[in-house]
Structures are given as C-alpha cells and as structure tokens.
Symmetry: C2
Subunit: 473 residues, 2 copies
C-alpha cells in the first residue's frame, strides 16, 4: 500500500520530465519519506523511462529488421543478414561488437504444407497446418490415414498399438485458460509438440498432428521445435490451428472416421556456421564483472519474428543505448548478447556458455528478454534468498512504471546455462495475455508490436541494470 499523497503526486498528471525537474526541488518532494539515495535513483530511473518513450530506438531497429529482413531461422540467408545488421547496429553505438562463431542446424520447411480431410460427400476441407521444426517430410504424395485423438501420454498407452498403428495421432490438449500467467499453460502442453512424434511412433503411428499452442480459437497454426529419438522410427509431425483442431475433434466426437491427408516437404541439411553477436560497455571499475542482457536473434520462419524474439534483442541493445544517453558509466561491464539458434538447438547459448566457463570474467547477473514486446509487469528471478530480497526491495522504485511482479521463477533458455552458485539470472516478464496469439505463427509480425510497450520494456531492464550495477547483488 502506498501513501496516497506521495503516490498520486508522483504519478498523476505529471510528465516524467516534469517529475524529473520538479523532484530536484526538495520542497516538492518534502512529503515523500525516502532517503536522498532513493531520490537520486528515482531521478535517474525516471530519466531512463523518459528517454525510452521519447528517444528509444528499440522499436525502429525492430521494424527495420522485421520489414527488410523478415523471419530469421538458423542457417537461413535472413539469419545471416540479421547477424550483419545487428553487428552494424552495435558498431554504430560504439559497443565494440564481436561475432562469436558456432555451428547451427539447418532445417527448411520447403514447399507449403498441404492438409485436408474429406467430408462424407467427398468434399475436401483444407486444414491449416505447419510442419514442426525438425520434422521429416512425408512422401511426395503425402500421407492419408485415419486420425486418432489423444490428450495425454496415458491416452496413447490405453489405445495401444492396436488403436494407433497406421494412423495419424492427433494430440489435442487445450492450453489451460485458468492460468493468469500464460507461460504456465504453455509449459504444460509443450511436451506433446516436443515429444509427440517419438511417443506416437512407438505405437506404430505414421504421422502426428498437434493442436497449436494458442489460447485463442483461430486459423493460425503455430510451429515449434520437436525431437526424434535414436532407435524410434521418425514420423512427420505438424501443428494444426486451434479452430481446425476443434473441428476435427467435433467430427470424431460425432463418431465419424476422419481421414486426413498431410503433405510436408521439409528437409534437414548439413550444419552451417552462424554467430552470436555481442557488444558491450566496458566497466569503469570492474571490467571483469559482467552484467549480461540478451535475447535471441533467430526466429521461426513464419511471420517476421517480431515478438519472438526480435523484441528481446532490440530491447537488450536498447538498454545499452539508454545507459549511454543517460551518460551513465557502469562500474561493471554491461554486455548485450544476441544469441543465435534458441528456437531449434540452443547452439548460441551453448557456445556462449563454453566461452564463459573458460573466461576469467565473472557473470554476476544475466537478464533475458524473450516473452514478447508487451507492456512490462516484472521480473522472474533465479538466485539466492538475499539476492531475491534485494531485487524485491527495488519494487518500490519500479512499481510506478508497471513493474510490480518480482518473483522467483524461470528466467530464460539462453541464459539458463550461465547459472553459477553466486550469480543471479533474471527473466524480464511483460504482460503475457497476448503472447500466444502470436508465438511461432504467421501472426508474429511487427504491426502487432506497440512502440510504447516495447520501449517501456527496454527502460524496465535498463533500470534494473542500473540498480544492479550501482548496488551489486
């Protein structure tokens, strides 16, 4: 609970710049029970937010990448263009950029997928599908087989080989609408996308359709990574739109046998060289102590990878730009990393971890932004109790900017490998309600990003970097 007088004074009816100016007059803040130190931090952080809303570049950088390069699947020409574009951006900011080489898998979707089921009258009804990343192709003429619907691994077991052999297994687990934080629902369902082809193949299935991980009912199929296991027959796998999943489920419920044709033309080529792109502001006192901020540069090959994770990389770079504009000289090195290949291999994260392990540097904190360019809500934190308490003590400064959920929780796939006994991992948490409308689909496009929401995220991370750099952990 906030004191009415101080809170409304700080927030209502005043521009940040006005706040910035007026807060310098002690009489204006005379009723705010804070230390001088807090005053200074508040001013610096207010200025970071003001700068983000008036001069922040994350949105423009993102727009240029999405509109002129587009989606950036590892190993693609666009991913290569994005590496060069990122390097040039970092160079233009004087961040002494480096390209860290690594090998990435190369998977291509090939010719657009085709799928339909036939109505009783023989009419073909097109289904909206997308091959999962890493799937093998079907035969050229596609596969045509009855589908069998399951929700869990147990359903598969119950059906057994008798119920599954020669069929297409249709995983139709709905994302749980009840979770306020939508990533929890994703975390639960994603195993069917990831492991469905392996489990279904064990019972003799010839293909897999997975309900898209989307909380809405719409026509966008959502792709994503999947695995094959050694010794288990590889079968083709695709995501189907939620509306089509509902349609198939209804037909099956009515007792019809439903035969589906699906044709995937994807292929996996030889691994290829690609790069993490890394820039930094060297620390003035402790250059060997690193605060890392990053996201992933690669994306799936549909849409233009705006929210996942163009937003995250351009916010990360924007953090360093804001610190420069603030004329803040960090004591520790503040490093931005654009990781390559988060979506289908994590090769960039592994390469960076290999570097970090052999380096004399200490990564005191790593912050990842990979949950879309939406309005800021908080941070998820992985560290010891005293670090968490320190982070939470900053909530009183950050709450007025919408940061009110600083909690223990998962942080991010790319920084996860950097966890040590002493350091702190942090995941930036924007509002999650809209994320799965876009994630891994043709609907993840730049026009669905709001400039202010994106730039406020940049400022939120910059404010945290400022506090960590200034006060340590």
């Amino acid at each position: 609970m906030k004191s009415i007088a101080s809170y409304s004074f700080l927030i209502l009816g005043m521009s940040l710049f006005t706040l910035f100016l007026s807060a310098q007059s002690s009489s204006d803040l005379s009723d705010v029970p804070v230390s001088q130190q807090f005053d200074e931090d508040s001013l610096q952080i207010a200025e970071l937010f003001r700068l983000s809303l008036t001069e922040g570049s994350s949105y423009d950088w993102l727009g240029k990448m999405c509109k002129t390069i587009g989606p950036r699947l590892s190993g693609s020409t666009q991913a290569e263009q994005a590496v060069n574009y990122s390097f040039d951006l970092m160079d233009s900011l004087g961040l002494n950029p480096k390209k860290q080489p690594l090998m990435v898998p190369v998977w291509k979707r090939g010719e657009k997928e085709l799928a339909f089921y036939k109505s009783a009258n023989g009419e073909k009804n097109v289904l909206n599908i997308l091959a999962l990343g890493g799937s093998i192709a079907t035969v050229d003429e596609g596969i045509y087989a009855p589908i069998v619907e399951v929700e869990t691994w147990d359903d598969l077991k119950t059906l057994g080989e008798e119920g599954v052999r020669g069929k297409i297994v249709f995983f139709n687990e709905e994302m749980n609408k009840e979770n306020l934080y939508t990533f929890h629902s994703y975390g639960h369902c994603v195993m069917h996308r990831w492991g469905g082809a392996v489990e279904a193949a064990k019972y003799g299935a010839i293909g897999v359709l997975v309900r898209s991980l989307n909380l809405r009912i719409d026509d966008f199929p959502h792709t994503g990574s999947m695995k094959y296991d050694d010794g288990i027959t590889k079968i083709p796998a695709a995501a189907i739109s939620t509306r089509d999943a509902e349609k198939l489920s209804k037909l099956l419920e009515e007792g019809d046998e439903v035969n589906v044709m699906m044709r995937l033309m994807c292929e996996t080529l030889e691994d290829k060289e690609s790069f993490n792109v890394i820039g930094e502001i060297q620390g003035s006192e402790n250059p060997e102590r690193v605060i890392l901020v990053g996201g992933h540069l690669d994306s799936w090959d549909v849409g233009d990878g705006a929210h996942d994770d163009g937003a995250g990389v351009m916010q990360s770079l924007g953090v360093l730009e804001l610190l420069q504009k603030l004329n803040y000289k960090p004591k520790n090195t503040v490093r931005v990393v654009f990781f390559m290949n988060e979506e289908n291999g994590l090769r960039g994260a592994k390469a960076y971890k290999d570097y970090a392990e052999t380096s004399t540097e200490e990564h005191i904190a790593a912050i990842e932004s990979d949950r879309g360019g939406f309005t800021p809500r908080g941070f998820h934190v992985d560290g010891n109790t005293s670090q968490l308490e320190k982070m939470m003590s900053w909530e009183s400064i950050l709450d007025k900017y919408g940061i009110h959920q600083i909690e223990e929780g998962g942080t991010g796939a790319d920084i996860g490998l950097l966890k040590t006994e002493n350091n702190l991992l942090i995941g930036f948490v924007p509002d999650s309600q809209r994320y799965f409308d876009h994630h891994h689909s043709a609907n993840d496009t730049f026009d669905t990003v709001n400039k202010r929401e994106l730039e406020l995220g940049t400022a939120s991370i910059a404010a945290l970097v400022y506090l960590i750099d200034k006060y340590g952990l």
Copy 2:
C-alpha cells in the same frame, strides 16, 4: 514487497482452479500469514478470475455487437439496435432490465470527407481526415485555403486576425509521449479538438484541421466531439491523421504556402428519443443502497466502437454475470447501466443523474469502465481519505491479478455527475499504452480486443464490487 515464499506459492505454477481447491486445505496455505477472512475473500476472488477466463461472456457479447451491429452513434439505427440487444442480454440474465428514455442529438457524417493539398507541380495529395462530431458541413464544393499551423491558443493570438483571416487553422499539438499514463496526454491536448473551431473563428478562420489525438504516426484520423459557441461564427472542423499532420508541418517548415481543400458533408438533425439500458441484482439486505457499474453504449460512427466503449459496457454486464455464477448474493443492489450518448452530449449521464437525485436510493459507489478492453492495472478513485485507504488496503488481495495501481484520480464522464459528499466514484484503469492507437478511429475494431485481457477486466471490477458490497466503504 511480498514475502518470497507466500507470493511465489500463490502465483507460480498453479492454475487458479488449483489454487481454489488447494487453498481449502489449511496445510497448503499454512505459510500464508493472513486471517481467515482474507482466506475466504481470496478464494472468492480467485474463483471470479477463474470464471472470467473460462466462462466469461463479455468478449462474446462484445463480438456479436461489434460484428452484427457495428458503430453506434447516438440517434443512429445501430444505436437503437444496440439498445434492444443490450436489453435482451440483460433480460436473458434475469436482471429485470429497463429502458430509461432521453433525447439525444443526431449528427450525421454524410458523404465521406475529402481533403487534399496540391504539390508545387499541381499534383493532388490526399489527406486522411474525419469531420469532428458536431461540425457543420463545408459548402458543397469544399473550401480551399492556405493553412496556418499553431500549437497553442497563444500562437493564435500572436498570429492575430491578420495571420488567420480566410485561412484554415491547423492545430498541430503533438500528444506528450512522456506521460506513462497516456490519458494525461489526452487531457492536455483535447482542448484544441473541443474548442479549436471557436477560437480560430474569432480570428476569422474559415476552417479547422486538428492533429489526431494519437501517440503513433499512422494514417487513421481520430474524430471526437467539438463545440460551437453562441455569437461566434461556426466553421467546419476535422481531424487529420498524425502522418498527414507531420507532412503538412514539414511542408510549412520548408517555407511553402500550403493550400488545403477540405469538404465535409455532415449535418445536425432534430434530437431524437433514445435510452439508457439498466439492469440489476437487487440487494438482499439493503436494496436501496446501490453499487453502480457501467460504461457507455454509444460510440463514434467509425470502426465498431469495440474499445470505446463496447468493452466497458460488456465488462459491466459481465460483472453481474460473474457474481451470479459465483452464486454471490449481494447485500446491496448491484446495478449495471449502459449509458447512452457519452460521446457527444452526456445526455444519458444527465438523465440518470436526474433520476438518482429524485430517487430515495443511495448510490454508495459507482464504477465506470471506459478506457478500453486492455489488461487490468488498477482503479482511479474519487472519495474521502478513509475510503481511499480502504480501497488501497485491498491492493494486497488484488495485486496478484495485475491490479497494482489504486490511486486518486479522475473516474469517468458518465458517473461524474453522481458524486455526493459520501459516496465513492471509481474508474477502472486498464493498461493505457495502446488505447490511443484505436480511440475514435476506424482502428477501434473488435479484432484488436484480446479476450483474456477483456475478461480479466470484468473480473477485476467484479472483485471490487464483491469487496465493496461485503465490507462497505
């Protein structure tokens, strides 16, 4: 700051339903330092949110209204259809609906507006404009005149009659990007839209163009209400898109004389009968004490009035539905009011206020939702200190649902007239970053509403109504 253990237990990794069930086992909540009373409220409120995400109807009601009826300007056929649709919805919920008759202004846009400027080579460049609501028409062939750019009333004064007579005054004040809460920027700029035609006419202007109240640069002109004053010549007035405003400004800056043609075909007809639509759950103990929740049913005539304010009325109705689904019997009467004519007259608010003044009922609280169907953030409150403190004490229960900004502030146009010495007015505050992308423009459409964000707003208001009803103010 929250205790790490209790907070993360409540929020992370658990569905609301799981929370609801598990919280009934005291051992599961043994580390949560709250009273039994708080426990019960938490459970009821968790259930309201769970119901909103799984069974809430606000989104479907809104979709049907936007898609089958569309925009609902006062006095239009669609407004009439929306009245009937709303009445039927309330009836289907057993809310004993009433239509409260009132007279509304009738203004029609007429044939689509036309505007252009001519380049030096004589080429016509189309400008995106929308007549302001209430504007008179131009002559049939349109007006063609040099434009003169101003930002403030003072600029007009400086130019004087010499600089203005015979010209079109172009008000080009940009919305202030620095305000975190975008309505503050709106509040500052809106005077030029509202009063620009009057002020410009005083200096002999023949027309007015007002930069759209939009924080983005795009092609959508944003309409809105304007006034004429007795004794001042009426001149036609239109909003121009931000991109076109920037274009005109640049041409003027380059020293060119810029002549603009604008043609508006709007007209004002006789006032017509329309209605507020009102339903309620009668209070079990104090039926004469009313907690009102409402929004406005009318909208501008472009887009389909989804955020402004279809969202607000359908959330308000959803509040009563959620209380019914919870099987909560309010002690006080909970009344939903769909106000007519907020946009260009506030006649519905006035009619309801006239009723309230002569009634024996007491309106203990009135809550308005009229800031879009975005993810919930908080409430603005207008009441005495003890009421504010009580509201803020509930923040600890509501914070986990995203409600973390309970502050003194403006509440709403429709409920404003209901203020008494003792009661409390409350404005629901969703995230404001995207609102002015849509407001009063063709871009205010149902497809830009996210179901979860909208329903979470409904639940937020329902939770507040529950607390007010249970604990009083």
